[in-house]
């Protein structure tokens, strides 16, 4: 009986297995990169109805995080500011800018010269007050079975920039980190690597000191951070 396959077909078989493995590894890596970054939208700016710039407000103008995100120290949610907060300045500053139209559209009062009856009749393109609601696009969206609490982090020396990055340099807004469970656990298992003094929490330019581990250990002690409880399922899942 003749041989159907020449001897070198053994090598072919071997290499095709290895090649297949390499191919699948590459494929999986690509998929992982896709899922973890693009699909997770890490470093992908999210479009917003108003091109709000943190770089301008928090960076250049130096507005404190808490001016807008009022409940970050007391509640789970940091709070997206009400239109009223924006209007404390923008009823005067940049009044009538078309970029702010969605803001004026959602505001419940007429602004003289912008969207009061006279100017609307005069044909400005400004929207009428109360005509539309302001819908921001959510940037950080954790799974529904995860219960993250801002106040618990802020009060224990986890800085805003530890998770959100240097927001004061961001023109738009995007996720700076994976925000996957593995990423959370990195700190929950070893908080000393990331904890900073409480008065530096809102400092977006904070850089870890060279003695971070030593300082971190001291702070963990000082802030009574319960390292037993941190990595547990029940800390975040309910």
């Amino acid at each position: 009986m003749p041989q159907y396959f020449p001897p070198n077909s053994n090598a072919f078989a071997k290499w095709s297995i290895i090649g297949g493995l390499i191919f699948f590894t590459l494929l999986l890596t690509c998929l992982a990169i896709y899922v973890r970054s693009y699909r997770n939208r890490v470093n992908v700016p999210v479009s917003q109805p108003i091109p709000f710039s943190h770089a301008l407000h928090a960076g250049e103008l130096g507005v404190d995080c808490r001016y807008c995100h009022t409940s970050v120290e007391v509640a789970a949610s940091a709070n997206i500011p009400p239109v009223e907060t924006c209007m404390t300045c923008h009823s005067q500053i940049r009044q009538g800018s078309p970029r702010l139209y969605p803001l004026y559209a959602s505001w419940d009062q007429a602004i003289p010269g912008v969207n009061d009856t006279a100017s609307l009749e005069a044909g400005t393109n400004a929207p009428a007050p109360n005509s539309e609601r302001l819908e921001w696009n959510r940037v950080h969206d954790l799974a529904d079975f995860v219960y993250f609490n801002h106040s618990a982090h802020i009060n224990k020396g986890v800085g805003c920039s530890s998770c959100h990055g240097e927001v004061n340099r961001m023109e738009g807004m995007w996720k700076n980190e994976q925000m996957s469970m593995g990423w959370c656990l990195e700190c929950h298992k070893a908080p000393e690597k990331h904890v900073r003094p409480i008065d530096e929490v809102f400092n977006a330019n904070y850089k870890k000191p060279t003695n971070q581990i030593a300082l971190g250990k001291q702070l963990v002690e000082e802030y009574h951070i319960n390292t037993d409880k941190l990595p547990q399922c029940s800390t975040c899942h309910r």
Partner: protein
């Protein structure tokens, strides 16, 4: 199983699904295909005989015997087989067996599909819509509790409403309101579900077709002729003044009241006793001895939460030095109050009067020739107690007026008045005998005296006495206007129907049983466009006042002096108007009470009508939470049944689930029977609230309508005759689900109890508490819990099985309902169940209620068997369930000795965004299909308290964490806290010698423990009880070292 079919099954299983159509039953049937049939236990007449023999046998060999059901006692082979299966009906074999090849194909396909969808489906972009102007007090993500009230039969029960960003999600009791005392009952908890119920009526109907509010207002303005207003019991001062204004403005207008649960007998009784309408209030705090004449005071009536608390406060036994009160109870049908009694006697409702006369004669009042068949020495012991201690006699609302009058006379004779009972002006705005009021109304309607009838929040076509034939009378009224939450039986026969705003959606006020006024404040805009009674009545005055206008106007004139806004804010904050409770009145019972002719109990079969313990007399018919809630003791769900005594079953040859025909006069109904241990011999209990035709998708067509037999004269009990039919009806009871005994009756000592005298005799080693020894060795190493260690203790002495905890848990933890057919196959989802056990004879057993949820064992058997590590321990010793890890193997459930784990066999939870989604607690994950779940000790509340305490850099104080079940419990039977904190309440209670763990001999080290149930029988009546003294360690369990 093809996709279409499984979809059908899913939609069938969802109770709230908008797709639950009339063919739902058909779909339900699909879900049970292939599921093992429920075993039929043979408890025929002869087996009741067997049961009696078996009990006699057990009595001699082991002293006191606890049992769970008649089926268990009969010890048939089927039952033994059922026990050994553990989860007898949870396994659902596939309809047609799959061969290996097909199985692999399906496996591959599902993998591929699963993988693909994970790749391509993008995360949907969520929106964030900020406030335009943020209300000052709202912090997004933090709920606000608002004080308000919910009325039950007109009387206010104070509540605190948890409101998340303007979305009410949950009700709790208001500690400063006397009708609540911080507790809440199952019905009031379920009011939140009733508010969101998508079956509620959503538009104004004229003659059944769509109309609107403006046309209705116009129609009202052009009405003339005589107006009649029908309401339920009204305690609201504003509503009453509004009705008065209408009566004044419209000549010939009249106001009638009717509620099927009313105070007619109390008022008529006080008329006989005192010549005026006054109502008693009992001070159980002061009473050493209580005699209840068929009165379920801890679980019915407007004062039940207050009475349950006060009564139980006198029964908290921790050490041998503690004392407790004593309850004597005669009752026709087992109730929660009867379950707490130290001496309980089943007695026909009509025989109670004779008994009351006997007691009166014994304390020197009147004379009697009736002699109730009492056990030896019963009357002597009772009279001895009544006359020598601070005592009180309580008459049941269902008992005729004369019994109330006799009770009043006895109370006066034994010196109870002013001490354990006080008399007050009724809290009702217009006290009246409602059975007369409804009769006058129907007479007026039939004689054409009424041109317009306005029915507010009432459903007389369903619940008015059948002999009045309200539906026929309604045809004689030219314009009938119905204001109600549902398009119910009355609504469809009315010329106008206006959707009513729920009490959580509108302004109002109401009085508690003691007269204290609460303001009802809305939590949300009417979600289905409902209108409040005040708005509808304003139309008759020609104004368009909102409910808020009316309430403010009334209180502005009622509040005397001072800054009104200050007063108003204070009242809204507290939930009560200060100093509005009625003062005690002086009252002297007339000597003529005993001149009233005595009536004697009937010999034959007697029917007792009671509102259903869960759904009431129809108000909550469409509440799936309450329909699925196992009823106290019978543990029936989704149905009512005719409860009969074992003796009657023997005499008539009846089994549970047989259908009988019950005839009263010329009316008859068919009803399935349920054999109820402890039922009075010839009494049949029928619960109203079922047999609805227009309740909604959930409540329509389930159970039978007992109102058909209920006449105005005999609204509470009546003689009847029964005949057996050949029909059977599928009743679903959860009594045998999660049954814990597998070694035969009594071996494992699941529920334990003894008498106070026993305990006092051996205060350090009460033998009945620790009858078994532990296994000597242990598989697992000990673990030191040095932080918080959460634990719970349940006091079985004061648990009366009212079920408030289960509904509170359901509401807090987003627990879905599954429907009758799923319950039938053992798939109910409630994390907490209240097991009923009986002790002693089948005719008059002792009742035990034992709430069982996850025990949070320190050495939890569920954990090592989980292949996913989805159930693990945390540092606080909690056995946590990680839903996102769970793969649904159900190994944990198999290995749980307590049978407390619940599995989502189908997609029970509502995932679609509809009105019901607003009900969900945002702090608790909504579980999906294929996930195991169980009690978490309300971990969301623990974590919240933990974060708050850490933010404030302190430790969690005792009382910072209150579980949902604990907060609801009317008797405070549940204590929760940190057992490592020596000063915490729970740590102190755990030190009691009555404390024991369920299956503690298995060394699971459960964190939930129980206090053995203590009763306090009169020394002369005390029977030999418990397992004998000091038998600690004598059981053979200790010998099986390292077994199991």
């Amino acid at each position: 199983m093809n996709i279409d079919k499984s979809r059908e099954i899913l939609s069938g299983a969802r109770e709230f699904g908008s797709d639950l159509s009339s063919s739902a039953e058909e779909k339900f049937e699909l879900t049970v295909i292939g599921v093992a049939e429920e075993p039929e236990f043979d408890n025929t007449a002869e087996s009741v005989q067997v049961i009696r023999e078996r009990l006699a046998e057990l009595d001699q060999s082991e002293g006191k015997t606890y049992w769970r059901s008649l089926e268990e006692l009969s010890e048939t082979e089927e039952f033994q087989a059922y026990l050994e299966q553990e989860f007898p009906r949870q396994s659902a074999p596939l309809e047609s067996g799959l061969d290996r090849r097909e199985f692999m194909k399906l496996l591959g396909a599902s993998l591929a599909l699963g993988g693909l969808t994970a790749c391509v489906r993008p995360n949907p972009q969520e929106k964030i819509v900020p406030y335009v102007r943020a209300p000052e007090e709202i912090i997004p993500g933090k709920p606000i509790m608002y004080a308000s009230a919910i009325t039950q039969n007109g009387y206010a029960q104070g509540v605190l409403v948890e409101n998340h960003n303007g979305r009410p999600t949950r009700l709790e009791g208001n500690p400063s309101q006397p009708g609540s005392m911080g507790s809440i009952d199952a019905q009031t908890t379920a009011e939140i579900l009733r508010m969101y119920d998508p079956d509620r009526s959503k538009e104004v109907l004229q003659g059944g077709s769509s109309s609107d509010w403006d046309s209705f207002s116009e129609a009202v303005s052009s009405l003339d002729g005589n107006i009649a207003i029908l309401t339920g019991t009204v305690t609201s001062p504003t509503l009453a003044s509004k009705i008065d204004a209408v009566l004044n403005a419209r000549s010939g207008a009249k106001w009638y009241q009717y509620s099927p649960q009313n105070a007619d007998n109390v008022l008529a009784g006080s008329e006989i006793a005192f010549g005026s309408w006054i109502v008693p209030q009992y001070n159980f705090e002061e009473a050493d001895i209580v005699l209840s004449l068929d009165a379920d005071f801890v679980n019915s009536g407007p004062a039940k939460l207050k009475y349950a608390r006060a009564f139980s406060d006198r029964r908290r036994v921790r050490t041998g030095e503690d004392t407790m009160n004593r309850l004597y109870m005669v009752e026709s049908t087992p109730t929660s109050t009867g379950a707490m009694a130290d001496h309980r006697l089943p007695m026909a409702a009509s025989a109670v009067e004779g008994f009351a006369r006997e007691v009166a004669a014994a304390v020197g009042l009147g004379s009697t020739d009736s002699h109730a068949a009492l056990p030896d020495g019963w009357m002597d012991a009772l009279v001895d107690d009544l006359t020598n201690h601070a005592s009180v006699v309580v008459a049941g609302d269902e008992q005729p007026p004369i019994v109330h009058a006799i009770a009043a006379a006895i109370n006066e004779a034994i010196g109870a008045v002013g001490r354990t009972v006080t008399y007050h002006k009724p809290a009702m705005a217009k006290p009246e005998i409602q059975s007369e009021s409804i009769k006058f109304l129907v007479d007026d309607m039939n004689s054409g005296k009424i041109d317009t009838l306005v029915m507010i929040d009432s459903n007389p076509v369903y619940d008015a006495p059948a002999d009045l034939d309200f539906a026929a009378a309604l045809d004689n009224v030219a314009t009938s206007i119905h204001l109600g939450l549902y398009n119910d039986e009355t609504a469809v026969r009315s010329s106008w129907h206006v959707p009513q705003a729920n009490e959580l959606e509108s302004w109002g006020d109401a009085r508690a049983f003691d007269g204290t006024i609460s303001i009802i404040q809305p939590q949300i805009q009417p979600i289905y466009g409902g209108k409040s009674p005040l708005e509808v009545l304003s139309l008759f005055l020609g104004t368009a006042d909102t409910a808020y206008d009316s309430i403010r106007a009334f209180w502005q004139s009622a509040a005397s002096g001072g800054d009104f806004n200050l007063f108003w804010n204070h009242v809204l904050y507290n939930g009560v108007v200060d100093d509005t409770a009625s003062a005690p009145m002086r009252a002297r019972a007339k000597s003529t009470i005993f001149d009233e002719p005595a009536s004697h109990g009937a010999d034959g079969i007697e029917i007792v009508f009671r509102p259903d313990p869960n759904i009431g007399s129809g108000k909550y018919s469409n509440s799936s939470w309450l329909q699925e809630l196992p009823k106290p003791f019978t543990k029936l769900t989704w149905d009512n049944a005719a409860l009969i005594s074992p003796k009657l079953a023997e005499a008539e040859g009846l089994k549970s689930k047989d259908v009988i025909n019950i005839t009263v006069g010329d009316k008859s109904i068919d009803a399935p029977v349920w054999i109820m241990p402890g039922q009075a011999e010839k009494t049949i209990t029928l619960h109203t609230g079922y047999g609805r035709t227009n309740a909604g998708k959930v409540g329509n067509g389930i159970g039978f309508d007992a109102n058909v037999l209920r006449t105005n004269e005999h609204a509470h009990f009546v003689s009847a005759s029964i005949t057996k039919t050949r029909k059977k009806y599928k009743l679903v009871s959860t009594q045998l689900h999660g049954i814990l005994e597998s070694d035969g009756i009594g071996d494992r000592h699941i529920t334990r109890g003894g008498t106070l005298a026993d305990f006092q005799a051996h205060p350090e080693h009460p033998g009945f508490v620790h009858p078994v020894a532990h296994h000597a060795s242990d598989l697992y190493d000990d673990f030191e819990y040095d932080g918080y260690a959460w634990g719970m203790v349940v006091d079985q002495t004061v648990c009366n099985g009212c079920n408030a905890c289960i509904t509170a848990c359901q509401s807090e933890n987003n627990i879905p309902v599954v429907g009758k057919d799923q319950v039938a196959v053992g798939r109910e989802m409630q994390w907490l169940r209240v097991d009923a056990y009986y002790g002693g004879s089948v005719d008059n057993p002792e009742f035990f209620s034992q709430p069982v949820a996850c025990m949070h064992c320190e050495k939890a058997p569920c954990e090592p068997v989980c292949p996913f590590g989805a159930t693990v321990h945390d540092a606080d010793g909690l056995n946590v369930m990680v839903y996102n890890r769970c793969g649904g193997t159900r190994y944990c459930s198999n290995n749980c000795p307590y049978k407390v784990r619940r599995f989502n066999f189908l997609q029970y939870a509502e995932l679609e965004e509809n009105a019901m989604a607003l009900l969900q607690n945002p702090d608790v994950t909504v579980r999906s299909r294929g996930v195991m779940e169980k009690c978490t000790y309300c971990i969301q509340r623990i974590q919240q308290a933990y974060i708050t305490s850490e933010n404030e850099d302190r430790t969690i104080a005792d009382g910072d964490v209150v579980t949902a079940c604990q907060s609801a419990c009317p008797t405070q039977a549940i204590v929760f806290g940190d057992i490592n904190d020596e000063n915490s309440e729970v740590a102190k209670v755990r030190k009691s010698k009555l404390n024991y763990g369920l299956f503690e001999e298995l060394n699971t080290v459960p964190r939930t423990t129980y206090l053995a149930r203590i009763t306090n029988p009169h020394p002369s009546l005390a029977v030999a009880s418990s397992y004998g003294s000091d038998s600690h360690g004598s059981d053979t369990h200790g010998a099986e070292e390292g077994g199991h």
